[in-house]
Symmetry: C2
Subunit: 425 residues, 2 copies
């Protein structure tokens, strides 16, 4: 921790600046309190009778009572970015990823993407049908599914349109606008493999088509190879029932694959011998290449990372010690390395990864950094367990062109000016 | 998965019972839908043109719009148990542990224990003072602390009065009433060791006294050996700022030790050469032994486990395949084994532990179980990495008597009657 040996003394000035901005009375009060506490400390260190004089100050009345279901502090303002559009039922909201901590996204801030709004579903009436090329078609209640062997895993879900702004040279001004269509939760549910085995797959079965109970019957084709690997049918996130916006009461979870295929409000799984080429895997969620042809079924989300602090829209208090932190993930497995550059990509340092690192999950990285107060450009670069390295925007555009709206995982540089303001570089 | 090979067919009857309870019209609708879907499946399995006739049924109008901060489904009713007392500011509320999933407790359902209510604190005005036997007293803002190197860890917090009901032979009727004063979150904050090193500990320093900003100035003494080991000052839980009930904006986290010492609304840490013997470590939170003497400073919470399904107040649908699941934890490290008995403790089977298993954190255990429909008594027994084995109530009472209100970690048996009803055994 030597790196930080001088941080707090450096902090002192800025703190006293803060105090000097307070009313003269408040200013005096602070110093009186401080000296009182210090006096108390001296005397109390030599006795153990307990209470300090200083303990008489501060709040003296009863606070709020216990409650049945808590809420956050009114001083906390973090919220999802909702668009000003004509049909907010057919829209997305973004997670304020620069304002969350650790690797868990609070359920209330999990990003949304709806193609016909959030249906209101009574779980007692909801059914999941599994049929098609199976020996025993199944019609299951939510209670049936909750009675099955369950599992909990931490995984991210990311819209394949996330970071779409970064296809333009301009790029988005902050983390939420650039990367906010991704979130990460502890999901609990049932292995899809178990359910398919219960239904009994016919020899010719190769795919399934998952259908939602929303108005547009969102449907996506999933190859059985993936369905039998690590797909789940989930009914809980972060300890409580999944939220309506996340598919209450049942959602298909296809770990690491583009968000749209994680069908919400899941009502039907049809086992087939072919893909269905539904609207959302043909007219949308395909990658238009420079030669005019499109890539179809580009499912996995490739390794991505970005710095959340310092990031666009934030302002540093001044030269001194900071902790650079951010998020990384890969749809192909675990993140094995995140490198950070504070000189616009000339040199790179390896950041610390918060343990444990989960496969196909947000991974928090951190790096101590002493800012000298001059203009700098910071960025991060992730490597996953397949050896894949997150590309720069130039590398991505060189290989894929600029026609695609989806699967942008380019590195994201932030420019820090001498006045501490941080902007998109 | 062979164990479950017959589960779903066994489910069929109960499902059709459900359906036969529906209106005759609904009943017919279901079968029409079912046959329609099956027909569709047959035809669609031989073409890939996409949409099924069956896809025309179901909801057909736009659902809810995207929102800035989400809420749970109105169909979800899980809530904390709040007591009907004269002063609900000086009370506790309990987490419905039989209604949560995985190992993360939703912030809104995290248990509460307040000695003078929940203060409303403006984080911009809040300060943490570190003084006493240090070289450099510190007065820190929340912003100062958030600028320091951070870490995230999953840990439980448990009131030492949890399971107090189990000292009586009667015992509590359900999981929430018996064990609901415990919860588990991903906590993010700063290592206390780092802050104490910044302040500079004097040679004679051996303890610290942590003080909260609530009306009663909750204060507890913590030996430096623990403070310098794994204690943290946390400002976030499960990805967002800690909740007011959990100490917003700052809480002392002392992993594995009784909840009361995890001082909330933390405003002051005084480094001393002795414990302070505050109200909450002398008149309360001590263990009265049979010989009339009391144990002082009984900090760690010993290994505990209990079955959450099936548990008191629940009712099984009938004989057949189930998954027994529950929670285990230890304040002394990782849970290494949970055994389940379905014959009142005569024989024990080893349950599956959900990976990853964190130290001093909720650990989810699961065991497939086929119920023959006769009266049975089920219970669980945890072992932690120190080799400690959770005692039965008889063993606990034999060693500690019945005078103590705290630190009850006895095994909890549930009786399942032939009609499927589950009660405290």
């Amino acid at each position: 921790m030597n790196t930080f040996g001088t941080l707090l003394s450096k902090q002192m000035p800025s703190r006293f600046v803060t105090i000097s901005l307070m009313s003269e009375q408040a200013h005096r009060r602070r110093f009186l309190q401080l000296s009182a506490l210090l006096t108390a400390a001296t005397s109390c260190s030599t006795n153990n009778t307990g209470r300090d004089p200083a303990e008489d100050d501060g709040p003296g009345q009863l606070g709020k009572a216990v409650s049945a279901y808590g809420d956050r502090s009114p001083f906390e303002k973090a919220k999802r970015l909702t668009p000003d559009v004509k049909n907010p039922q057919v829209a997305s909201s973004r997670t304020p990823l620069a304002d969350i901590y650790g690797i868990i996204t609070p359920n209330s801030l999990h990003f949304e993407r709806h193609h016909s709004g959030v249906p209101s579903i009574d779980p007692a009436q909801h059914r999941l049908m599994i049929h098609g090329m199976v020996d025993r078609p199944l019609m299951l209640t939510v209670a049936d599914i909750k009675r099955l062997p369950s599992t909990s895993r931490v995984h991210f879900v990311e819209c394949s349109g996330n970071s779409g702004s970064e296809w333009s040279a301009k790029g988005a001004p902050d983390v939420m606008r650039a990367h906010g269509l991704a979130s990460c939760c502890e999901w609990t549910g049932v292995s899809l493999k178990l359910l398919l085995e219960e239904a009994g797959l016919k020899r010719e079965a190769k795919w399934l088509v998952a259908e939602g109970a929303d108005a547009c019957k969102m449907s996506r084709s999933v190859p059985l190879t993936k369905a039998l690997d690590d797909a789940m049918i989930v009914y809980a996130q972060n300890g409580e029932a999944i939220r309506p916006e996340q598919g209450y009461p049942l959602r298909l979870l296809v770990p690491g694959w583009e968000g749209n295929i994680n069908v919400k409000w899941l009502r039907r799984i049809k086992v087939t011998d072919t893909a269905y080429y539904t609207k959302d895997e043909t007219s949308k969620y395909t990658e238009l290449m420079p030669d005019g042809k499109s890539w179809l079924f580009t499912w996995p989300m490739d390794a991505k990372s970005f710095v959340t602090y310092p990031s666009g829209g934030q302002k540093l208090a001044g030269a001194g010690q900071y902790e650079i932190t951010g998020l990384a993930w890969s749809g192909r497995g675990k993140i094995t390395k995140v490198e950070v550059s504070v000189d616009g990509g000339k040199t790179w340092q390896t950041a610390n990864l918060q343990e444990p690192v989960f496969s196909k999950a947000f991974t928090r990285f951190r790096l101590p950094w002493k800012w000298d107060g001059t203009d700098v450009t910071i960025t991060s670069r992730a490597t996953d367990e397949t050896g894949y390295v997150q590309p720069s925007r130039d590398e991505l555009v060189a290989s894929r062109g600029k026609n695609s709206n989806y699967h942008n995982n380019a590195t994201k540089p932030w420019k820090i000016a001498a006045d501490g303001s941080v902007t998109n570089a």
